[in-house]
């Protein structure tokens, strides 16, 4: 069974690229357009890793991360935060709230895939 990755971002353009790249790398991929949708996907899809944008309508990435990490059932899911917010304090906040890694946009897709593999092998 393929490793499952959930891509959460409100910008469809980047979601399209990431979905294709991850599928191409052999992952089972689903997508969500905001934090609320992401939480709804959790139960049925049960991803191993989430690529989580921070600034999103309805429910932002910080909030999603906090909820996942405080629930015993979802605590083990790896969270890789992807955000245009790149200040030290913003990165620190994401990691404090339980993200396993934080990458600032824009990034090299190769680095992203490497980081995904690394998180999953931990």
């Amino acid at each position: 069974m393929a490793t499952r990755v959930l891509v959460v971002d409100d910008e469809p353009n980047i979601v399209t690229s990431l979905e294709f790249l991850l599928q191409d790398a052999g992952f089972a991929v689903r997508t969500a357009g905001n934090g609320q949708e992401a939480l709804e996907q959790m139960a049925q899809f049960a991803p191993d890793l989430i690529l989580l944008d921070v600034m999103m309508p309805v429910l932002d990435g910080y909030e999603v991360c906090q909820r996942l990490k405080s629930d015993p059932k979802t605590r083990g899911v790896r969270v890789l935060m992807l955000s245009a917010k790149g200040r030290d304090v913003e990165i620190a906040k994401g990691l404090e709230l339980g993200a396993d890694a934080y990458m600032t946009k824009p990034f090299a897709t190769r680095d992203l895939l490497a980081k995904v593999q690394e998180l999953l092998s931990r």
Partner: protein, 710 residues
């Protein structure tokens, strides 16, 4: 001469007796001797005693006269020394005393000359100090930055109009009223902030550093003030050593930074927005392009999909950059050194420049004096006069007309001329050609100058009147900043008093304080009628402060009050305040607390103050405001100084003291006249031994008028 007279008489008597004795023969002598025998002694004594007594009395009188004459001389010398240096001793006719008198007179003359010399020097020094002070005060008062100088205790020794303006702009009426010489600065600014700053400065001083401390504090109405605190250092004598440098006071510089902070935070937001937006777009582009590059075998459909993503994101990015650049250039324009200027002044400058050209006449339409612009006047005048020059040279124009009007949010400037129309191409070129002036090339064109101003310029023709004009739209100064005309200052500004560094008005005005050193609030009220006990009310309060013997015309209080009742026609005739003037004015319950704060820590002075105080007392219960400070009455004080005068009305006293009673019958006008009267009364009171507050109050009580009760 007189002292020698008795001696001469005695000698003559002895001589006569000796000659008589010598002339006598033996029997004669025996006979004479027999006369002097015991039997005759009594007789001789009877004759001689009065003579001797006369002799003694004469000698005593002579000595006495000499003694009183010396005493008189001593008194005169004392008079010269203490009271009247022009006084001189009079000659008496006695040679000894006259020479002494002459010597004393010489000394007195020499002393008078030295005194006059010293006085002249002192006057010169005083004048020069005074001039320095006035120059200094003028500079301070013209500064845009708010300056406050305080002594160690926080009493204000100097302030400028910018302080009052700054605080008034904050709608902080109460704080604006609290600015005044000798008042505590803690009435305006948070005590804790300032004390903290002073501690920091003292800490620096201990480490041998000298510096100032800066902090930002919020005002009640949510604006931000940047406060710079710097110490005023002075030398204090220390016991048995070199003088020690200590802080004798501090200087506060205030500036309103609310807008700067707003503007800075808008800049920061703009920047963050740019960074984050760019990152997001770039992330999408990069992911898409890397997908294409990494997968050369992508099907056409997918490839087209990623290409459209890249295109859409790139377009979004361009739009974002375009918007940013226009936002940014708007900010740059705001930062261009535009100054505020009256439209009339700009027009006058333009006219003067154009008139310098021979053969070109200019007509100027009148301009609204209230119209203010925000312009770079130098380049603007250059651009406009260069236009006029080209009109003369290339279109043979002899008359131009300039006018300026406010239209919506802009000032509309026209330079108009009659004659043939200009082609749109020429008009375009003229706007975009760099203009030359006085033989020098300017790097700017009219279009650029207008761009700097965020304005627009164009050529237009009014066909019916055959008039052509270039029209320029210029930014007006925003309301509030334009109405910056300073209140006209008294010829000698009263915003500083450095004597207060060393002494300041008593806050606890006890009866032992001298009248000349107390702080006063001289006030007057206008009322609906003369019967406070029958419901008459105060409709106006005016007041002015006296600090350190100076009338502070710039520190006044003035308020109308809605009495919520009718005003008697007789009263209206006196003060001219008709009921309609009072509609919408604050009520007594709002005004009295403000007046109380204004008069805090001072002695109240009024003319016929009992009348005004009665009104204030009747309001104590309803307003809770109680005036507990001592009160002096110029009417009573005048009666103390001039008990024989029958009239002590304000007019009569002012006339006697040579004070012009201008602006009477408004509360503030009367308060000002009363204050001048009071200042003139202080030395007159001192001359009759009334020097302290206690003595003045006691003297008032004794006068007849003191028995009048309202």
């Amino acid at each position: 001469m007189a002292s020698k007279l008795p001696l001469a008489v005695l000698l003559t008597l002895c001589l006569v007796m000796g000659l008589v004795w010598a002339d006598l023969d033996f029997s004669g002598r025996a006979a004479l001797a027999s006369i002097f025998t015991a039997a005759r002694v009594a007789l001789i004594a009877t004759i001689l005693a009065p003579a001797l007594a006369f002799l003694g009395w004469t000698m005593f009188r002579t000595a006495e006269r000499a003694r009183t004459s010396s005493m008189r001389m001593a008194e005169s010398v004392r008079l010269i020394a203490r009271v009247n240096s022009a006084n001189r001793l009079t000659r008496t006719g006695s040679a000894d005393q006259d020479s002494l008198a002459d010597a004393v007179n010489d000394l007195a003359a020499e002393r008078a000359r030295l005194l006059a010399e010293m006085q002249a020097l002192a006057a010169e020094a005083r004048a020069s100090v005074e001039q320095e002070r006035n120059r200094f005060a003028a500079i301070i008062s013209e500064l845009d930055q708010s300056v406050l100088v305080c002594n160690r205790e926080g009493r204000i020794l100097l302030y400028n109009t910018a302080v009052s303006t700054l605080l008034a702009r904050h709608g902080n009426d109460q704080a604006a009223h609290s600015v005044g010489l000798g008042r505590s600065v803690f009435g305006i600014l948070d005590r804790n902030f300032i004390l903290h700053a002073l501690e920091t400065i003292e800490g620096q001083a201990v480490r041998g550093e000298r510096g100032s401390v800066q902090f930002v504090m919020a005002t009640v109405d949510g604006r931000l003030l940047r406060v710079n605190v710097a110490p005023v250092l002075g030398e204090a004598p220390s016991i048995g050593g070199a003088p020690q440098v200590t802080m004798t006071g501090f200087v506060l510089l205030l500036s309103d930074v609310t807008e700067n902070v707003d503007s800075d935070s808008r800049s920061v937001a703009l920047f963050q927005d740019l960074v984050e937006g760019t990152r997001r777009a770039t992330a999408s582009i990069r992911a898409a392009i890397e997908t294409i590059v990494a997968h050369p075998d992508l099907d056409v459909q997918r490839r087209a999909r990623f290409a459209s993503i890249i295109q859409a994101e790139a377009v979004g990015l361009s739009e974002r950059l375009e918007k940013l650049s226009s936002d940014f250039s708007m900010r740059l324009r705001q930062r261009w050194p535009l100054e505020e200027m009256r439209a009339a002044d700009l027009l006058a400058l333009v006219a003067r420049r154009i008139e310098r050209r021979k053969g070109l006449a200019i007509v100027q339409d009148p301009v609204d004096p209230r119209l203010w612009l925000r312009v770079d006047s130098f380049t603007l005048v250059q651009a406009i006069s260069s236009l006029a020059g080209r009109l003369q040279e290339e279109f043979a124009v002899r008359d131009v007309k300039v006018r300026m009007n406010a239209v919506d949010q802009h000032a509309q400037f026209d330079i108009a001329w009659k004659g043939v129309p200009m082609s749109s191409e020429t008009a375009f070129n003229w706007q975009n050609d760099a203009f030359t002036l006085g033989g020098e090339d300017s790097p700017l064109s009219l279009a650029q100058v207008m761009h700097r101003h965020g304005g627009e310029a164009w050529y237009q023709r009014d066909v019916p009147s055959q008039t052509n004009y270039f029209r320029l739209l210029l930014p007006m100064a925003t309301e509030g900043t334009a109405v910056r005309a300073r209140p006209s200052l008294p010829s000698r500004p009263e915003f500083y008093d450095f004597d207060l560094f060393y002494r300041w008005p008593a806050t606890d005005a006890d009866d032992s304080r001298r009248l000349s050193e107390l702080a006063y609030t001289v006030f007057d009220t206008e009322t609906t009628g003369l019967e406070p006990n029958s419901g008459d009310e105060i409709i106006s309060i005016g007041a002015v402060r006296i600090v350190n013997g100076r009338l502070l015309r710039s520190e006044t209080f003035e308020s109308l009050i809605d009495p919520r009742r009718a005003i008697s026609p007789a009263s209206v005739q006196v003060h001219g305040i008709t009921p309609d003037l009072l509609i919408g004015q604050p009520l007594i319950g709002q005004v009295l607390p403000r007046f109380w704060r204004f008069a805090e820590d001072t002695v109240l002075v009024g003319h016929n103050a009992a009348f005004d105080m009665r009104f204030l007392q009747l309001k104590e219960a309803s307003t809770g405001v109680k005036f507990r400070q001592p009160v002096l009455d110029t009417l009573l004080l005048s009666a103390v100084v001039q008990p024989s005068e029958s009239s002590h009305s304000l007019e009569a006293i002012a006339a006697r003291l040579g004070i012009a009673a201008i602006g009477r019958h408004t509360a503030l006008g009367d308060a000002l006249v009363t204050a001048e009267v009071f200042l003139a009364l202080i030395p007159l009171l001192a001359a009759i031994g009334v020097q302290t507050l206690g003595e003045a109050r006691a003297a008032c009580e004794k006068t007849f008028y003191a028995r009048l009760k309202y």
